[in-house]
Symmetry: C2
Subunit: 344 residues, 2 copies
C-alpha cells in the first residue's frame, strides 16, 4: 500500500478582476497517495521544491477565452513553473529520484500528466532554485528576447524597464557582456543600487521619483535609445517611443503595469514607429525553447565564473505563496520572486 500524506495546496477561489488580493487564493488541505494510480501512462508524481512567481500568471487568474495561456480553474491548485523531485514515474524520460523543472501545481505533491514541457535537470552544481529563474523560463526569456528579438549590435544603447526583475536583471547583464551601454528603471532605491552595483548597469533610475519620464530618458540617453526591452507598458512605453533612435528595436516581453487595469492605458506616440522606422516585436519564450540547450552551454560557465549573477527573493512555505505572487504587482519583490516549498 502506498503511503498517503497530507498535501497542502494553494487554490484560486474565484476569477479575479482588478488588482489581485491574497484572499483571492486560499490554502487548502488535501491528501495524496505517494504512488501514481494504476494505469497511469506518461505521468509523473513529484514532490514540489520551488515554485516560481511570474507576472504572466496574473492573466491566468482571470477568465479568458482563446488566450495564449489557459485560465486557472477556480477550486483547483494554481499552476506555474516549478522545480520538483520525481517520486514515481510512468514516463520513459523520467525516473524516480530525477529532478525536473516545468509546469507543476502550487501544492506539496503533484501528479503531472501534461509532461511535454518538463525538462530534466542535469546540472546540480548550481542552486536548484535557479531553475525557476536564470536557468528556467525567465533566463530563456531574457536570452531569446535580447539576442533573437532585439538584434543587438555592440555599442548600442539599451534601456530595460522592470530591470531588477527575474528577466530584466539578466537582459542588462547580457547586454553589458555584449558591449552595450545599459540603463535600467525600477521602483526602489534598493533596486537601483542593485542595478548599478551588483548587475553592472551603466545607469539606473527610480521611475517613481521621476515627474517626467521623457526628461529622465533624455538625461540617460541624450542621443536616444537603440533597444528597449519592454516589461511594463503604458506611460513608460510612451516616453520611450519619443526617445528611440532611427531603426531602433523594441522587444515587447511584458506590460506588468497594465495587468490589473480594467482597460489598458492608451499609448499615444506610436507615430514615432514611422518617423524613426522602429521595429516593435512581441515575443513569447515558448517559441524559443529549442535554444535551451545552447543557452545552458552559454550561461552555466558564466554563472560559475561569476560573470553573471542572479538575485532571488525567496518566500518560505506554501502559506506565503499567495502574498509572494501578489507582491509582484506592487513591485514588492527585489529580484526573482520564488517560493520554497521543501528545501532539499
Amino acid at each position: 500500500m502506498a503511503e498517503e500524506v497530507s498535501n497542502k495546496q494553494v487554490v484560486l477561489k474565484n476569477y479575479v478582476s482588478g488588482f489581485p488580493k491574497e484572499s483571492d487564493m486560499e490554502i487548502k488541505k488535501s491528501s495524496i497517495k505517494l504512488k501514481l494510480p494504476e494505469g497511469s501512462s506518461e505521468a509523473v508524481l513529484v514532490k514540489n521544491l520551488y515554485l516560481s512567481c511570474d507576472p504572466y500568471m496574473r492573466n491566468r487568474m482571470s477568465k479568458m477565452e482563446g488566450s495564449y495561456v489557459e485560465s486557472f480553474i477556480p477550486g483547483s491548485p494554481i499552476v506555474g513553473y516549478g522545480v520538483a523531485r520525481v517520486l514515481d514515474s510512468t514516463h520513459s524520460n523520467f525516473n524516480k529520484g530525477d529532478l525536473l523543472w516545468g509546469f507543476t501545481g502550487w501544492e506539496e505533491y503533484s501528479i503531472i500528466t501534461a509532461t511535454q514541457g518538463l525538462i530534466k535537470i542535469q546540472h546540480t552544481d548550481v542552486p536548484l532554485s535557479y531553475y525557476t529563474g536564470i536557468l528556467g523560463m525567465p533566463g530563456m526569456t531574457a536570452y531569446a528576447g535580447f539576442f533573437e528579438v532585439c538584434s543587438p549590435k555592440k555599442g548600442e544603447r539599451v534601456f530595460i524597464s522592470a530591470a531588477s526583475g527575474a528577466v530584466g536583471q539578466l537582459v542588462g547583464q547580457f547586454a553589458k557582456l555584449f558591449g552595450c551601454y545599459v540603463v535600467g528603471s525600477a521602483g526602489s532605491k534598493e533596486k537601483i543600487d542593485l542595478l548599478k552595483n551588483k548587475f553592472g548597469f551603466d545607469e539606473a533610475f527610480n521611475y517613481k521619483e521621476e515627474q517626467d519620464l521623457d526628461a529622465a530618458l533624455k538625461r540617460y540617453f541624450p542621443e536616444g535609445i537603440d533597444i528597449y526591452f519592454e516589461n511594463v507598458g503604458g506611460k513608460m512605453l510612451d516616453a520611450v517611443l519619443l526617445n528611440m533612435r532611427l531603426h531602433g528595436r523594441i522587444a515587447v516581453c511584458g506590460m506588468i503595469s497594465q495587468y490589473n487595469l480594467d482597460q489598458n492605458e492608451g499609448v499615444h506616440n506610436l507615430f514615432c514607429l514611422i518617423t524613426k522606422r522602429i521595429r516593435m516585436e512581441g515575443f513569447l519564450v515558448f517559441d524559443y525553447y529549442h535554444l535551451y540547450p545552447k543557452f545552458l552551454e552559454v550561461i552555466l560557465p558564466q554563472i560559475k565564473e561569476g560573470k553573471v549573477v542572479y538575485v532571488e527573493d525567496i518566500a518560505e512555505g506554501l502559506e506565503n505563496a499567495p502574498s509572494a505572487l501578489i507582491g509582484l504587482f506592487s513591485g514588492r519583490n527585489t529580484g526573482k520572486q520564488l517560493v520554497v516549498v521543501a528545501p532539499e
Copy 2:
C-alpha cells in the same frame, strides 16, 4: 536677356494646428526669369507639370523640430513631390527638355538646388502624372512596404486601411497578384466599389458605416489577419490588434486619422503584440529608393498589360491645389490626389 514670366505660387501663410483649412494657404503672384542665374551650379530650373498631394505633408505644415521631414517655411511656396520639365540646367544629370520627378515647389516654375532626390523620367509611354503616384513615391512605398516590410507569404490574409488611396490601392493589387486574400477599408460607397470591382480586392467595407470595427474585421477575417498595412492609426489599429493572427506583421506606413489631432488617440491593445507575437514595424520610403530601378522593371510591364491599374483624382490648376491637399484629411479624394499645373 531671359524672358521673365509670371509665376503663381501656393504659399503657406502660417504654421497650422488642428485641421488645416484652405485659408492656411494663399495663391501669390510672383515672377521668374526662365534662366538659371549666373553662377548656379548643380541646379535645375523647371516648369512644374503635376504636383502630388500626400498625407505626410500635413506634418510639414506644423512647426516641428528634429522631425523626419522639415517644416514648410511660412511665406514660401509649399514643397512636395511633382513631375516637371527641365527648362535650364547646370546639373550634369539633367538637360534642357528632360522630364523628372522629385521634390519641387508648388508654383508654376521652380529653381531646384536640392537636386539629390530628383529622378529623370525615362519611360514616357505611360501617363506622366503616374510619376506622382504609381511610378513615384506612393508606388515605391506600396512596393517596399508590402514586399520588404510585411514579409508576405502566398495565401496569407491581408488587411489594408485607406485602401483606395495612393498607396493602399497598390498594396491591395500587389497582394492579390502575390496570391493573398485581401480586404480593404475606405470611407465611401464609391471607394468600396472601386476596391471590389476595379482593384480586385476580395472584400471591402466602409468603416464609417461600422458601429464596431472589431466585429467588422471578424466578419471578413474569421480566422484573423496575417498582415495589416496600416495607413490610418487610432481606433482601427486597436481593432486590428484584436484580430491579428499568431506571428502577424503590421507595416506602419501612415496614421492619417491622427495628423490633425492635438494629441494622438491612445492605442489600448498593444498587449496583443506579445500574446500573438506580432511584429509591428514603421517604415519610410526614403530607405528603399535603391530598389526603384527594380520596382520599375516589375511595375511598368504590369501597367502595360493591365495587371495593375491606378485611379487618380485630378485637380485642375494651382488655384485648386490648397483645396485638393486639404481634401485628403476628410477623405474627399477618390484615388491618388494630384494637381495638374500645366498639362503637356
